[in-house]
């Protein structure tokens, strides 16, 4: 066996261990897009909450809740849709399957905190605790990212930790929920997506 073969062998072992345990087709660009959608959503939310001077409209609290919920769902659907599309494209380019043990593990470990958080946020809306909803979303989303990160790029963990910290600060400052929501889901996603794009995606296109 040649000396350089030893290195080739070790790198092939490392490569297989990594590729079989981590889902690496997540697209960085989809993070940027999710951030942009979130910022647009936050702007619409701001207009709905503070932009309306008609006192009669402000009284329809329930209607306002539904409108905000619709905006949030719109952001979610657009983000997940774009994310899926770009991830499928990246996987195809790297000749990897999108539905494999690593992507399943990613979804399974991420979905428990995510759905717990979603259900908890709905209960908060139902009970009228509007002040801590943004904080709840950020904290549980951050926990979901940290839980899922062991099955993909380690960088996802840091995004999750930043979201958790931001969520805790938001919980301590109830009046600024929307601002923290925009920072966590908008600005952080854009920063993270840009870093990921330049760190992992660009070399694969070239």
């Amino acid at each position: 066996m040649e000396h350089k073969d030893v290195y080739a062998e070790i790198s092939s072992i490392k490569n297989m261990m990594e590729r079989s345990t981590k889902f690496i087709s997540l697209s960085g660009l989809s993070g940027v897009m999710a951030g942009i959608y979130a910022l647009i959503g936050a702007a619409i939310g701001y207009k709905l909450l503070y932009g309306d001077f008609d006192p009669y409209v402000r009284d329809y609290n329930e209607w306002l809740t539904w409108q905000l919920l619709a905006v949030a769902c719109g952001v979610l659907v657009l983000s997940v849709g774009t994310g899926l599309l770009l991830t499928v494209r990246k996987a195809r380019r790297k000749r990897q399957t999108i539905w494999n043990p690593t992507s399943r593990a990613l979804l399974v470990s991420g979905s428990l905190p995510l759905f717990t958080g979603g259900a908890f946020a709905m209960i908060l809306i139902w009970q009228g605790h509007y002040g801590v909803i943004a904080a709840t979303c950020l904290i549980f989303y951050g926990l979901a990212l940290v839980a899922a990160s062991q099955h993909t790029f380690g960088d996802v963990k840091w995004l999750g930790i930043c979201d958790i910290i931001l969520g805790l600060i938001a919980a301590a400052m109830p009046g600024f929920g929307l601002m923290f929501w925009a920072m966590g889901f908008g600005v952080l996603h854009i920063v993270y997506g840009t870093i990921m794009h330049f760190k992992y995606d660009r070399e694969n296109i070239a």
Binding site: M1, E2, H3, V6, Y7, E9, I10, S12, I13, M16, M17, R19, S20, T21, R95, Q96, T97, N100, P101
Partner: protein
């Protein structure tokens, strides 16, 4: 330069077999089709290498059904894991020896 093959596991001489073992050591278990996608090999090729590892008792096979579809999962056995570790140590020693 040729390096002596002492301590080297014959079962891992083949790259595919070594890769299968790497996947099974890093994961609790892996199914046939996912292994095939990951290693980019044909059914027959993968099956024959799995058979060889099974014969060495390095892996165990777990056959079950998912609905009506057969689902064959492979697990690294304790013997396989320790053999894999020895192989890695042998590789490590080679590199150490090479360094002046």
């Amino acid at each position: 330069m040729k390096i002596s093959l002492n301590n080297f596991d014959k079962a891992f001489e083949n790259r595919i077999r070594l890769q299968i073992m790497s996947v099974l050591v890093a994961n609790e278990s892996y199914d046939f089709n996912s292994l095939k996608d990951l290693l980019e090999v044909t059914d027959g090729n993968l099956a024959s290498h799995l058979k060889a590892l099974e014969k060495e008792e390095y892996i165990t096979v777990n056959k079950s059904f998912l609905g009506r579809k057969p689902n064959t999962r492979y697990l690294a056995s304790d013997k396989g894991i320790s053999a894999f570790k020895k192989h890695l140590e042998a590789l490590e020693n080679l590199i150490k020896q090479q360094k002046p």
